[in-house]
Each structure stands twice: as C-alpha cells, then as structure tokens.
Symmetry: C3
Subunit: 341 residues, 3 copies
Amino acid sequence: MPDSRFFATVGPFSLGDLAALSDTALGDGASPERLFAGVAPLDRAELDHISFLDNLKYRAEFRDSRAGACVVRPAHAAGAPEGMALMLTEDPYRAFAAIAVAFHPAPRPPAGIDALARIDPSASVGADCRIEPGAIVGARVTVGARSHIGAYTVIGDGVTIGEDVHVGSHCTLQYCLIGDRVTIHPGARIGQDGFGFALGPAGHLKVPQLGRVIVGDDVEIGANATIDRGAGPDTVIGSGTKIDNLVQIGHNVQLGRGCVVVAQTGLSGSTKAGDMVLFGGQSGMAGHLSIGDGARVAAQSGVFRDIPAGQTVIGSPALPVKEFWRQIAVLSRLAKKKGDQ
Amino acid sequence: MPDSRFFATVGPFSLGDLAALSDTALGDGASPERLFAGVAPLDRAELDHISFLDNLKYRAEFRDSRAGACVVRPAHAAGAPEGMALMLTEDPYRAFAAIAVAFHPAPRPPAGIDALARIDPSASVGADCRIEPGAIVGARVTVGARSHIGAYTVIGDGVTIGEDVHVGSHCTLQYCLIGDRVTIHPGARIGQDGFGFALGPAGHLKVPQLGRVIVGDDVEIGANATIDRGAGPDTVIGSGTKIDNLVQIGHNVQLGRGCVVVAQTGLSGSTKAGDMVLFGGQSGMAGHLSIGDGARVAAQSGVFRDIPAGQTVIGSPALPVKEFWRQIAVLSRLAKKKGDQ
Amino acid sequence: MPDSRFFATVGPFSLGDLAALSDTALGDGASPERLFAGVAPLDRAELDHISFLDNLKYRAEFRDSRAGACVVRPAHAAGAPEGMALMLTEDPYRAFAAIAVAFHPAPRPPAGIDALARIDPSASVGADCRIEPGAIVGARVTVGARSHIGAYTVIGDGVTIGEDVHVGSHCTLQYCLIGDRVTIHPGARIGQDGFGFALGPAGHLKVPQLGRVIVGDDVEIGANATIDRGAGPDTVIGSGTKIDNLVQIGHNVQLGRGCVVVAQTGLSGSTKAGDMVLFGGQSGMAGHLSIGDGARVAAQSGVFRDIPAGQTVIGSPALPVKEFWRQIAVLSRLAKKKGDQ
C-alpha cells in the first residue's frame, strides 16, 4: 500500500464498482460484491489488493501473485493463479490507472496566494489559484482559474497560463503562452533565448530571438527540461504531448499533438514533428527536419534525415528499423567468422 | 511581427539605413528610401518586412516569400521573386542579426537592488546593477557595473562577476570567476564539486575539489547546464565560447576561445580543447583528451581519442568523417546484398 | 595552492604525519621530518607541495614535476625525478584525497535556521542543522542532526532526511526518504511523478505514481539530476552510490550499493542494477532490465538487454566488450580495403 505519509487512500470499493469505473469485464467467478482496499504491484499485492499485468516480462510474478484481483488482457487470463479475480480489458494499464486514481485521488492543496508570493499589480490571477511562497508573477501575466504555481517559480512579464495548470517549484517561464491542464515539473526552463548565433572568427554574434513558446492543452513537461523560445517563428508544443525530464527543445521546433518525448532527448532548432510521434530516451534530432505523423524514433537514435509518417527508425545515424537490424546481423556474422578463424 | 506582449519594436527604418548598419549592398532596383517596419521569417513576412535566406533548405520559401526585402548571398540572388529588394552579403545571418537588433533592441530592465535581495555587507556591487528579488550575494563577492542578477540566484562567498553580465533566475554560482558580458541562463549550476572519487570496494572516497571555474568574457552558458569546478587545476571556459542548455562540463576541463558546445553535450574531466572547436549536440568526450583548434565533433559522437587541429570526427567511437562514411557505406552495401539473396 | 578566497588551508604537516594519515610508505631517502605546505597538480607543484600520479597519461608531468613529494604506486616509482620524496601505495588517488583533506578540511558553515527559512510547525529539525534563507521545510518533515539545507530548497510534506546530510540550493525533494551523510547538489529534483502514461490515440492518461524514492546512506546526487519516484514499487538508490550531474533515473529503478553513475546517463523505468555497477557517461539503459553486480557499461552505450554480473558492455546496442571491438576491427578492415581499391 502506498506510504500514508505521502498518499491518501480512500475506499474500500467493491469489485463491481471498480470494474465499472475502469471499463473492465469481470472474469468467471469474480464476485462484484467483494471489497478491495487498494492497489499494489504483483509481487507485493495481498488478497484485498488489485494489481495488473501489462508487460509480459512480469508473467511469472502474475502467476505467483497473491493479489485478490488483477487487470489483465483476456489473452493472458489463462496464466492467472487459482482464486484470483480477473478484470478483463485490452488496455490493462489504462484501466489500472483509473482504479489507482479511485483509491488515491490526487491531492488538491488549498487555494490561496501566499503572503511571500509577489504578484505584479497588473497581473490577473483567476479564481481558486494556489500561488506558493516566493513565486513571482510578472507584469500583465494572466493565470487561469484553479492553477497552481509552485514555490520560487518565476513567471516573466506578459506570460499567459491557462486553467487547471500545475507548475512545480523553481520553474522559469518567459515569453510563453501555456494552455489548460498543463503540468510543468520542478526546474523546467521555458522560453529562454534559443542558441542562435551568427558564427565567425571575429566572434559569435547573438541573433535576437523574437518568437515565443506556445504550449497546447494537456501537455506535460518534465523536471529540468528546457524549451527555448522561437527565433522568429514560435516554438510549438501540441496538445496532449508529454515531455520527460531533461529534454532539450530548440528554437522553432514544432511538435504535433500527442507526441511522447522520453527523457534526455534533444530536438534541434526548426525541426517539425507531426502528431503522435514517439521519441525514445536520449534520442537526438538534427535541425530543420520533418518527421511524419506516428513516426517512432528508438532510444539513443541520431536522426539526420526526414522521417516519413509511420516509420520506425533506430541507430546513429538512424535507419529504418529493418535495415538497421540487417546491418547489425551482417556485422555480427562477419565478426564471428573472424573470431572463429 | 514579434508579439508586442514580449518584444518592443522601434522604427520604421529606411532600406538604406538598414543596409548601412548591416554592412550589406543593395541589389539592383532597390530603393534606399523605402521604409520597413520589422523583420519576419520568409513564409510569414509581408511587404514592409525584412527577411533572410541562409540555409538553402528554405530556397522554396524564399522564392515564394512576400517579404519586401531579403538578406541573401549574391550567389542566391537569382532565386528571388520579382519585386523583392535584395540586401547582398556573404554572411546573411550576421547581417540579419544586426537588422533584427535595430528593430528590437534588447530590453534593459531598470537598475536597482530589490528589497528582497540579500547582499552580504562585505560584497561589492557596481553601479547600475539590477539585483532581483531573492537573489543572494555572498561574502566578499564583487559584481561589476551594469550586471544583472536574476531572481533567487545564489552567489557563493568569494565569487567575482564582471561588468555587463546577465545571470538568469535560479542559478547557483560557487567557487568561480566570471568575466565581462557573460550571459548565464536560468538554472545553470557553476562551481559545484567535481565528480572525483577514489573508488573502492570499501566505499568511494570523495577527493576534495580545490580548483575553481574561470569563465572568460562574452561567454554564454545555457539553461540548466552544469560546470564543475576544478579538482586542483581550474575548469576554464575561454572567452567567446557559447555553451547550450543541459551541457555538462567536468572538473579541470579547459575550453579555448570561441568554442561552440551544442545542447546536452558532455565533456569529461581534464579534457582540453583549443580555440573555435565545435561540439555537436549530445556529443561526449572521454576524460584527459586533447582536442586541437578548429576541430569539429559531429552530433552524438563519442570521442575516446585525441583529435588533431582542424579534424572533423563523427560516430561512437568517433572516426575522421571520411572513414566513418566509408564504413557506413560498406556496411550498408553488405546488408543490402544479404537482403537481396 | 588553492585560491584562498574559496579554500582554507591548514598546516604545515610533516611528511611522516602525512604518510601516516594517508597509509603510505615513504620511499628511500624521504625524511619524515620534512614539512609540506599543501597539495598541487604535478605541473604546478613546488618544493613544499605534495602531488600524485594515478593516470599514466601524466607520466611525463611526473618526470618533470618540481613537487617535493608525490604519492605513487611502487611500480611507477622509478620514473620519479631526482630528489622527489615518494609516498608509496597501491591506491594513490585515495591516499592523495586523505592528504588533501588534511590541508583543506571541508568548511562547516555555522549552524542555525535563517529567519527567511520557512519551517512547518509540524516538522522536526535536529540539533546543529543549518537551514539557509528561503528553504521551505514542509509538514511532518524530519531533518536529522547536523544536516544542511541550502537556500531556496523545497522539501515536501512527509519527507525524511537523515543526519549529516548536505542539500545544495534550489533542490526539490518530494515523496522521498534520504539516509545519512548524503550529498545532494544544487538543482537536483527528487521524487516527482514518474513518466507513466497509458498511451492511446484518444489521449495519454497519467497513471498515478504511488511509490517513493528511497536513498541510502553516503549517496551523492549531482547537480540538476532527476530521480522520479516509484509508480507503485519504490525507486531505490543503494548506500554508497554516486550519481553525477544531469543523470535521469526513472520510476522503480533500483540501484545497489556502491554504484557509480557518470553524468548524463539515463536509467529507464523498472531497471534493476546490483552492487558496484559502473555506468559511463551518457549511457542509457532501457526499461525493465536486470544488471548484475560489478557490471560495467561504457560511456554512451545503449543497453537493451540484461547484463550478467561482472560483464563489461559497450556500444549501442551494447555488446560484450570483446565482441564490440572485434566488430569495429572487421568493419574498419573492410572499409580500408574498399578505400584502397
């Protein structure tokens, strides 16, 4: 069970109610009246816990689990231990998320503007906002209703923040417009100068960075991530896009809707990606590229050419996935032959 | 046009004045009296805007642009649409920067020490500095004239900062000497302990880090970048060097003058680079290397050996660029043959 | 000698005393009564300085050094210049660390809670702690004796911090339990939400992150590093593990005792490593991997498979080290042949 020092737990809930809110079907013999007290991982769950199986790497833990109930795909139901109630769905991770939220609703710290926050008189702060100690809200800033600005976060003049936004502590927001329901984790830096210089032997001349950062709705931006503002065009993060910790996004980058950018990835200036593009961890994109909808970039890949929609690439320089593995196989065979000589 | 919530615009300026300040030559038929209101990217510029063509990837946007004037190399002038005034130069990006600065001079927020800043009585702050709320200036610190210390930035005891320096919010500066006209973006960490341990099965023993970080003039340091202080020697960043976001610089590293270090690059301890070295994004240098003047390290390269002056390397482990591409070509041909069988 | 603006120096000490405290044996002819004033690198040391030779790259500097004494392995003693006193040991870096600490003991800034710190009334702060300006200590937090909380660091409700812990400025600690003698450098983010989403075309649903971060004793965490809390299990950092700057550690990761994680490395969610594992800089681990005790991951490697105990891997995708170099050699030979044609 989650540590009560950090997480509140409500319940218990009946299996039937949990099945309804998670849109799952109960397996044979599962009693909808049975009560459950919380969620737990497969290997630590007890009889009154709900667990889940998504990644098949954990099949053995599933088979040996003492969990009273488990969310699982119908295709994997046969591997369940005897007596475990099954909650069947094709998307167990999503269903589990709904159940976990039911038991552990996200805390809503009380609204209010701390006496040690500094709000410019020309700023507009919506109803029921929470502004923590030391937060600085600059001139002409607008903060939408129910938004939360963490301690010591600095919001530069003119910035606009939507409703139900959560900004962690120690963030810096400048030259940006932020949508609704955005989450920004601690230490993120949004809107600083892009890395634009006219290089030359007599000195590198800074080119004024005159664009903004436009962040859509339902975006998440990870801890210590950095997003530079545009140089003339804007840097744009499409709605629903999720950006992990320590990601770097250069000036003029445009990300479509629902992209996923895993930790430590870097997108160089002026690269444009469509919707639902997946960037694996530590991957890097050169500048001025075009990446089509639904493309997938494997972890650590280095992309130096455009990627058509739907294509998966891997390697540095990145190749279409089949080509990459064929090269790996050929090289491995040659080296083996050599080693055998 | 830049968003007036964030950027001030002055002007208009005549084409002749703009040509003079950007050191460009007007093309045939361009009227020096014609007035312009600002700058804009090729695809969004209107008749009273100046745009520029540098990267030939944007040739089509150039041909179709409605910009009234465009900064361009003489060799590319033939691709201009009819009626566009041309401003000719071999360095269009630099000329454009000068024009953009003319229309949008960098704002100078008012000088003054905020009542919520905390300046140690033994510190010396020069004339016309701006010290923002919550900034902490430690004992015996000196800050040169006209420098700007951002909100909540913490400057440790004994640090020296030159004139016309700009330090963003939330920075940490310790054990360092900073030159003139340096820009440090939010969240940069300068001068913490290097990662020096005597490793061993009974525990890793920290080795005292007794050096400093010496930052020359006209250096730029990106958001959330980290520069460790020396272990005994100093960590040195030469004048004019530009460091991007999330770069890591280990203890005792020495960078020469005018280097460019693109985002997420890491330089391991005691590596020394000459002048005008270019490090592509996400590249990594092993420790104790020597990198010659004007060397170029491609993005994502992993450098494990010294690089002679002027050489370009790529790959991990990095190779001279021709060798690398020859290997890529050979491997690709072999894999194709295999695939054809 | 270290810059007196930043480092205090005590002494002098006799060579005999220094040999005793560093557990080294004096070489032939070295007088235990001779006095020394401090430590310095080989190329800058003078007659009253102690230096050290560990990395053989610096053999020439050793031969030419003016250092009065030098810590060195017996096997390398023959390369010493005439007149240099030798301090012999099989672990010169560790012995040198002990000597450097003797001359330059780490400063202990005075204890006390700054008037501008904000301590929740329900928090418990041990004896002789130092809490700097702007630090926020949340509800029910406990801070052990002699711990130091840096300026503007924010410690969330319920967090536990051990004794003799040093937390730098601008850190964010949430949902975590921190052991004794831990050092956390500025800007580190510990305990934020993991990057856990149920991905889907209708939107990526955040999965509640209900675990903690458990940090053992004697751990070091670098500047601007990020450690996400567990999703249900905990994220665990074993005692004695050292984590460098800008490292990313995903939810549910478990690191054993005495691991070393060099800068900009990323460990994806649910990966488990044993004791004394070494992760080179910019290396990346996929999720859900198992890495055995004493394994070594070379810099920039991309690990997509489990690593057995004691194995060294390199490359992306990573291979056992011999296999990797054999492939490199084969490819190099083929490309050379091609180039010769």
